[in-house]
Subunit: 356 residues, 2 copies
């Protein structure tokens, strides 16, 4: 019998709990109860968030109007929430993972399996810091990832969508994650490529900045499709150069091309970059983020900066004209129109390297 | 010295002539003059179309406002237009190719190379009838193709875009085509996969019908991205099952993912399918085509029908849930909402087969 705990209860975490809860009830191999660790908050009414979730089966703060399932139990105590669980779903903001793992070390089952739904790893000079890898290292457990074109509110409304599980070696664990998440409106596929799947979830944000520039410059559908395609190719090439085990086919999965499409069509990265280009780069990203995102920082701008550091320290800049341009434009060193001034020679280089 | 003739002078043909003309002037290995065969028409002013093109350097009927280059010479006489040419660019409506080839047989240079820019082949029961193949058979010349995310008017305005040349064996001919079409705003890449590249240009239209249904049902970005991704996978699987030499990597090129994105975002297939779904399938495609396209038929509906015949005669229906659904919906046998009722087992089948 498998026992699941969801660590995190934001918008996406709550939707994940809903998906999981409907399957644990339906399938015999899982305990019905799904525990969800909730960072306790006091609501304006004076009630505690966990109490309200457990009373109403609704996360009234982060996913109002959606029933999570009666078998979801909110728990404000992290250690208690994971007690007895052998399937741990990580779905917190990425900056909290390390602290959570430290608190959990030595307190989880030795046979537990983890899965990370967290997008937005840090790309350090020495290479991308996979969150799945952090979890494995800190907790000594195997960790898969689940990524895809997953706007949480659309899945909450049971609109058809897909996701990809990336796993390392343990195929039977991956199949179990697929079982746990799959519903008739949420189709999940497993691929043996945890690095490729996880990198997609981060790198796509830098491409969405480029797509936003094209929108802001009103360059039309051809140009936007071209920029998205070049971005997808650079995501693939960068991932393969960092982790030679990464597979091309991963980029045809939901985590690859589909998530890229969703992110380049909607989403905050695209939107703020659009505004940046419309203003001719005269208002900085800092200023626009303060105005449009209440001061939250854009993942794509950050990722482009981090990727740029890797590229320049390794002498790879010429192989990644799009990533390089996104960074140069977002820091004001080039005008937004530079996004389409990617030279032929550079593109041919991308072509050459990614076909190796 | 290479001498180029463009056979066709519609919207896309005129843009192709413009791209080519700027390169033949610039590059020493090509004759400056580009001959363009024009199906002669009398304009409302009483003048002949060829005369006006040759006087103004503008195709006032099909690409008004754009200078083609002084070295483009319109010629109403097909045989005369190809005289001495050893690079033939085919860019007519697909239903005219066979007739044109019949008229040209025996009248072209033996060392000529062809390239087809024509999208929308017929998919017969015995398999797809490649237009490149038709040209090769009828004229005894090698024939490449050029496909991509190419909305003609956007390229005419010199907005950045990309295309893919698909070739058979002759790499040096392919490189010459790339030279002939490439400009700083039009980036062309060659891949050795004529079948894959040409099939993309046709099959994408059936996927655009599916994307239009999703738009009409207002299902959101997740669902649309998922449907586009499944469509891309089915395009790939179908192409490989028809022509085992087709390469996965072709679908990462402009002809694949980029053209699919453009076609699913704009374009008439998407638009009419959107209207069909908004009307709950109660107004037929015939009716909507009459109203929205002045009676022209939608390529995507036609292709879905032809593909369906291949699938059912070969027992492949279960491997292509999206193509099958598009046909069933567009013929009124299923409601538009069936586009997302693609069963998990079917999707797993696509996965399995396309990973072979």
């Amino acid at each position: 019998m498998y026992k699941v705990t969801v660590i995190g209860s934001g918008n996406w975490g709550s939707v994940a709990a809903k998906l999981i809860a409907c399957n644990t009830v339906r399938l015999d191999s899982f305990h019905d109860e799904v525990r969800m660790w909730v960072f306790e908050e006091k609501l304006p009414s004076g009630e505690k968030l966990t109490d309200v979730i457990n009373k109403t089966n609704e996360n009234v703060k982060y996913l109002p109007g959606i029933k999570l399932g009666k078998n979801v139990v909110a728990d404000p105590d992290l250690e208690n929430a994971v007690k007895g669980a052998n399937m741990l779903v990580f779905v917190t903001p990425h900056q909290f993972v390390e602290g959570i793992c430290k608190r959990l070390a030595g307190k989880i089952r030795a046979d537990a399996e983890g899965i990370s739904l967290i997008k937005g790893m840090e790309v350090k000079k020495e290479g991308p810091s996979l969150i799945s890898n952090l979890i494995t290292k800190q907790l000594g457990i195997n960790c898969s990832v689940l990524m895809g074109a997953n706007i949480a509110n659309e899945i909450a409304m049971e609109k058809f969508s897909e996701a990809t599980v990336g796993y390392n070696q343990n195929k039977s664990a991956a199949d179990r994650w697929v079982q746990l998440f799959c519903t008739p409106y949420f189709n999940v596929t497993a691929v043996q490529d945890v690095e490729g799947v996880e990198l997609c979830g981060t790198l796509k944000n830098a491409v969405a900045i480029a797509a936003g520039f094209v929108d802001g410059l009103e360059m039309g559908n051809n140009t936007k499709a071209a920029i998205m395609r070049i971005g997808l190719k650079e995501m693939m090439t960068f991932s393969k150069m960092c982790f030679p085990s990464v597979k091309d086919s991963t980029f045809f999965e939901s985590c690859g091309v589909a998530d890229l499409i969703t992110t380049c069509m909607g989403g905050r990265n695209r939107k703020v970059a659009d505004a940046y280009a419309r203003n001719g780069g005269k208002r900085s990203f800092d200023e626009l983020e303060a105005e449009m995102l209440q001061g939250q920082k854009l993942q794509g701008v950050l990722t482009a900066k981090e990727v740029h550091e890797v590229l320049s320290s390794r002498g790879w800049l010429h192989i990644f004209p799009l990533f390089s341009a996104v960074h140069a434009i977002s820091t004001g060193r080039l005008p937004p129109s530079a996004i389409v001034k990617i030279s032929e020679e550079n593109l041919r280089h991308v072509q050459l390297v990614s076909s190796l």
